[in-house]
């Protein structure tokens, strides 16, 4: 048995860093805190890589399957004998993979932020929040039980809230952070209810017990409970609701585009590479239950994923804020991952989708982080978020340009970049399971290529714009992460995921199916071609198209008015039709009743106060009469 005890430092280090920077950073070393935070994270990254190496290449396998290893575990809060929240670290293929993803991207973002955030007010605050986020995210992926996951789930929510609202004096940032928190909180409510139902039926929170395919937990709760679905299905649907919220799937996606108000490195780290895939990770973590005990819930996952990916891709084609385009593209790609999980089965070749999803999660983290950091470099150079105010930047920003192009090719699924491999696996999995979903994803692949290259062409090519200040390339702290991630995009496609990360830990034989791969590359190229025609040649086609599909375009541009719908629900229903009446009711009914009782008492006393005339002799008369009457009563009547 290999000793993984040191993994506790993967938790503790960022937490200590957060406390340290948060409490002392402001006063004592505001300048140094960035370096300090980055160094801390570098240590964690090294530890994670060591863990990954030890886990994948030196740990024992049983039946050719990777085992789930509990590195450490202690009881944090005891509810009942069986139900207790533990804090610990569970190592299995997906959690180790997530370790790599999180620490790599996080380290890159830390280094990048050293340059990007330089001179910002609250520099040390930024790094302490980043540390908090790293802590929470690592805790989330290493969770040994579902409640630990929920704890860190909430913590990443808060870190996200704090980081989106980093520019707290900007009203839009404040609004966005509030929105993100409340929307995900609402989704977490579902997650919590799911946990409660699950715990009531299985009497355990522990992942290993829960997800043991032959264990009692999966066997239980398959009976019909409510509306024709089993208890397990309901609980899994509720749990998935949490994932929907965090991963910005339809209908809880509305917070993600607004979350782009945060600093760009934050968008890269949290809202592209790591936190938003937590939902995918959650489903993957609970996958045996979904696959074996709640197939209906898994179908829900698939359809939500598919719809979200299409929905987001359509919106992405119309947006002009580059970060928003990327946000919708994130949503679309996560939809892919969800879909892949949704069409997968447990074990064997059925598990292709699961592997594909994890694979795509990995590659997506690389290329999306790269895209966002690239976008950050662009924004840094031109001080604007809008594509319309950019053009011809390839001359000014050569490194950014190349790396951005690599990222765009990766997301468009052009070989030999990594996106091709992972996307291909997903399409293959969908093809074997559900042809409709396959068709949808196929279309989304084309749309993805189109909107990414629309972005790419209109920013780096196209018309030349007279900038107030000549845009200049970002400093080395910002370009090095770009290059590292670009290399990651190139090589990560060749990682043998089918050997490492599979649904049951065993090796999954899969090959690139040319019948699916070639058309998908073709449609990617088609999308790029259309984008080239429309945005490099400066044709009038886009405007014409927009004019032709006037209403469709308008709806997509306005994100199908989902925001307005939410606004209506919250502002009108919650505030106007629930809260205000409740407050009114409280003041004018409940409180008024109490005041009314007091008023009646006062009124009655006002009426009878005349008895207290101050006339001594009246009192005496009443007293004596009363005494006599009492005497009569007691002597003669009380027998």
């Amino acid at each position: 048995m290999i000793n993984f005890n040191y993994t506790i430092w993967i938790f503790l280090l960022p937490f200590l860093m957060f406390l340290f920077l948060g409490l002392a950073g402001h006063k004592y070393f505001p300048r140094l805190s960035g370096i300090l935070g980055t160094c801390g994270l570098a240590v964690i990254t090294v530890l994670s890589y060591i863990t990954a190496y030890k886990y994948f290449f030196t740990s024992e396998k049983v039946d050719g399957a990777y085992q789930k290893i509990i590195a450490f575990n202690f009881t944090w809060l005891q509810f009942t004998d069986k139900l207790h929240i533990d804090i610990g670290a569970l190592l299995d293929p997906i959690s180790v993979m997530m370790l790599i993803v999180i620490t790599t991207v996080s380290l890159m973002v830390h280094i990048y932020s050293l340059g990007y955030m330089k001179g910002e007010k609250g520099f040390e605050r930024f790094f302490s929040f980043l540390s908090l986020f790293s802590f929470s995210m690592l805790g989330l992926v290493l969770a040994t039980n579902i409640f630990q996951m929920y704890i860190f789930w909430e913590l990443v929510g808060v870190s996200s809230f704090l980081l989106i609202g980093f520019y707290y004096q900007k009203p839009s940032a404040v609004r966005a952070s509030k929105k993100a928190f409340i929307v995900t909180r609402f989704a977490d409510l579902g997650f919590l209810i799911g946990i409660l139902i699950l715990s009531f039926n299985t009497k355990t929170f522990d992942f290993i017990t829960l997800t043991n395919p032959t264990g009692p937990a999966i066997a239980q709760g398959s009976g019909i409970a409510f509306l024709g679905l089993s208890v397990m299905t309901w609980s899994m649907i509720f749990v998935f609701m949490g994932g929907v919220g965090k991963s910005a799937m339809f209908p809880f996606h509305i917070w993600l585009p607004d979350a782009m108000e945060g600093p760009t490195p934050v968008s890269a780290l949290i809202h592209a590479a790591t936190m938003v895939v937590a939902g995918v990770y959650l489903v993957a973590r609970m996958f045996p239950i979904y696959a074996l005990s709640a197939p209906v819930a898994l179908n829900v996952v698939a359809y939500v994923g598919a719809f979200s990916s299409l929905f987001a891709a359509v919106i992405a084609c119309t947006q002009t804020d580059i970060k928003r385009v990327l946000a919708y593209s994130t949503m679309s790609q996560i939809g892919y991952m969800m879909l892949a999980l949704g069409v997968a089965g447990y074990g064997g070749h059925e598990g292709l989708g699961y592997m594909a999803s994890m694979f795509h999660l990995f590659t997506h983290a690389m290329f999306k982080a790269l895209l966002f950091l690239g976008a950050g470099a662009i924004i840094h150079a031109v001080h604007s978020n809008y594509m319309t105010e950019m053009g011809g930047l390839r001359k000014y920003l050569p490194i950014t340009h190349i790396t951005f192009l690599i990222a765009c090719l990766t997301i468009a699924g052009i070989p030999p970049f990594s996106g091709f491999f992972s996307k291909d696996e997903i399409l293959a999995a969908a093809f074997h399971s559900n042809k409709i979903l396959f068709a949808v994803e196929y279309a989304v692949a084309g749309l993805t290529a189109f909107y990414m290259f629309r972005l790419y062409f209109s920013v780096f090519w196209g018309k030349d714009i007279n900038y107030h200040q000549t845009p200049h390339e970002a400093p080395a702290t910002m370009t090095i992460p770009l290059i590292v991630l670009a290399v990651g995009c190139l090589v990560s496609g060749f990682i043998p995921f089918n050997k490492l990360v599979t649904s049951d830990g065993k090796i999954l034989e899969s090959e690139i199916e040319l019948m699916i791969a070639i058309p998908s590359v073709l449609i990617g190229l088609l999308g790029i071609g259309i984008a080239y025609l429309m945005y490099v040649k400066e044709s009038a086609i886009p405007d014409k198209l927009a004019a032709t599909f006037k209403y469709g375009y308008k709806w997509a541009y306005n994100k199908f008015y989902i925001d307005e719908l939410y606004l209506f629900v919250t502002k009108k229903i919650i505030f106007r039709y629930i809260s205000d009446p409740v407050a009114w009711f409280d003041r004018h009914v409940v409180d008024a009743t109490m005041n009314g009782i007091a008023g009646i008492t006062q009124g009655v006393s006002f009426r009878i106060r005349g008895l207290q005339s101050g006339q001594l002799q009246k009192y005496a008369f009443v007293f004596i009469t009363g005494a006599i009457m009492l005497a009569i009563l007691f002597i003669y009547l009380w027998k």
Partner: protein, 501 residues
């Protein structure tokens, strides 16, 4: 002198010392010293208690002392603590300690203010150490009277009205309570022995069910009024809004907990059968409290009102959990009492400090305070996050324990109601974030506020004490949970033994 009585004696001595002082500037130092001593005492009590438990003392109550007081009615001055009361005493001493520092700058009748405040505290301490119903009731009344003076004299706004309303409603509650207690007393000895007020002795007998049906609701509602049970909660918003800072802290932080504690220790512990039979009524009322308080808080514009409604919601959760009557939920209820006590005290302290600077509590008249008073604002954010149940702070621990416990209830009705209660976490998030966004974030809206000073040293002591405790519970809940859990064990066993469900 036994250690428990010291908790009443030290405040009395402090009051005497204050009375003897000529110089009013020393009053607060003496108070701080006395209450600091009390805090140390509480800490050492926790230590002693854990040592005794560790040494294998498995009595239901420890450190029992019993002095006959009124022979004819068999009233005793009887004290004793278990893990729950120890935790509540710790909470009280923390809040009082913070409260002294939060009222450091009271100028008007300073001596009398501190005397009333400490008198109030001694009533609360006495309540928690008593195991004699009558003594308990006496201390409870002792706590209510100074409250009237504190709000009526040092309050703001319509203070006379609020003080009157609060006192009258609480007195109304204690009238019901007294009837309930007497009902228990007269049923305390079915086989014709001497009647008793002692909780431990009463818990050994079974009060006849028809009597329980009468006296359980009376006792529960009596304590429920104090615990802001819907629809008897309306004293809370007005009272809290008018009260001076330290009093709001003590009142929301500790006095409202008397309700939950009493409901649990007296109503349910002594009359479990009726509690089982009637719990559905009160479960409905408390769930209304939870959701209704939270929705009410969304619509408020005054900081203190927001917090008062949020207290209604949170205290509703306490009573809700107590009524679930299983180990986990009750454990959660006690943790929630402590957690809510600390964080609401923190809220009121901060609101008081903000009000002391801006002279308004209307959220729309302020804005962007984060830039002006960063320390207070950060603390406010932490308090808010604790209130909405962020893991790592106490609120999460309490709420999750309650939800998990309540959801283990075997009857479907209770589980469905639990889901309703769970939904409060979203509404809580809405109103907390709304306040934070309007009050602290965004651009500064009022240029008069631009040069306000940040927290002074005594304010920092007050706030840091509370935040430290909130974080301590949130990060390491196991010891508190275990301490309460072991004490709950005999109680739960009694309840379950009598009512196999």
């Amino acid at each position: 002198m036994d250690i428990l009585s010291l908790f009443v004696v030290i405040p009395v001595l402090t009051i005497t010392a204050i009375l003897l002082l000529k110089d009013t500037r020393q009053v607060r130092l003496v108070s701080a010293f006395g209450m600091g001593l009390q805090l140390l005492m509480a800490a050492s009590l926790v230590f002693l208690y854990l040592t005794a438990r560790h040494a294998g003392n498995n009595d239901e109550m420890l450190f029992i002392k019993d002095y006959l007081w009124f022979k004819s009615l068999n009233i005793h001055y009887a004290v004793g603590v278990d893990g729950i009361s120890v935790a509540m005493i710790m909470l009280t001493s923390l809040v009082v300690f913070a409260g002294i520092f939060a009222s450091w700058e009271v100028e008007f009748l300073r001596k009398e203010f501190f005397i009333s405040l400490i008198l109030l505290a001694s009533g609360v301490f006495g309540f928690f150490i008593s195991i004699d119903l009558f003594t308990m009731f006496l201390f409870y009344e002792l706590a209510v009277i100074p409250m009237y003076l504190l709000i009526g004299i040092w309050g703001t706004g319509p203070k006379e009205y609020s003080a009157m309303k609060l006192t009258l409603m609480l007195m109304g509650g204690s009238a019901l309570l007294l009837v309930g207690l007497l009902g228990i007393y007269f049923n305390s000895s079915p086989d014709g022995n001497r009647l008793t007020f002692n909780i431990l002795e009463i818990s050994k007998v079974v009060i006849p069910l028809p009597d329980q049906r009468i006296f359980f609701p009376l006792t529960f509602v009596g304590f429920g009024v104090l615990g802001a049970l819907f629809p008897f909660h309306t004293w809370s918003p007005d009272g809290h809004a008018s009260a001076p800072t330290a009093v709001s802290m003590l009142h929301a932080g500790v006095l409202m907990k008397l309700g939950g504690y009493g409901a649990f220790r007296v109503a349910i512990f002594l009359m479990p059968e009726a509690a089982h039979e009637l719990s559905w009524i009160f479960i409905i009322l408390t769930s209304i409290s939870i959701v209704y308080g939270a929705f009410g808080a969304i619509a408020q514009k005054d900081l203190k009102y927001i917090n008062a409604y949020s207290s209604i919601s949170h205290c509703g959760l306490v009573l809700f959990a107590v009524l679930m009557m299983n180990q986990t939920a009750m454990n959660g209820a006690i943790i929630q009492m402590i957690s809510h006590g600390l964080m609401t005290a923190l809220f009121f302290a901060l609101i008081g400090m903000i009000y002391g600077r801006t002279h308004t509590r209307m959220i729309y008249e302020m804005g962007g305070l984060m830039k002006i008073v960063p320390f207070l604002s950060v603390c406010y954010v932490i308090a808010g996050l604790a209130s909405l149940g962020l893991p790592g702070l106490s609120g999460f621990v309490a709420e999750m324990t309650i939800f998990v416990g309540a959801f283990q209830h075997p009857e479907l009705f209770y589980r469905i109601v639990t889901i309703l209660a769970v939904s409060s976490i979203v509404i809580t998030a809405v109103y907390i974030l709304r306040v934070i966004a309007i009050l602290l974030l965004g651009p500064t809206t009022n240029e008069h506020f631009e040069h306000l000073p940040d927290a002074k040293w005594f304010e920092k002591i007050s706030v840091v004490t509370l935040i430290g405790s909130v974080a301590a519970i949130g990060l390491a809940p196991f010891w508190l949970s275990t301490m309460i859990g072991t004490s709950l064990h005999p109680i739960i066993e009694k309840i379950i033994a009598l009512n196999p469900f």
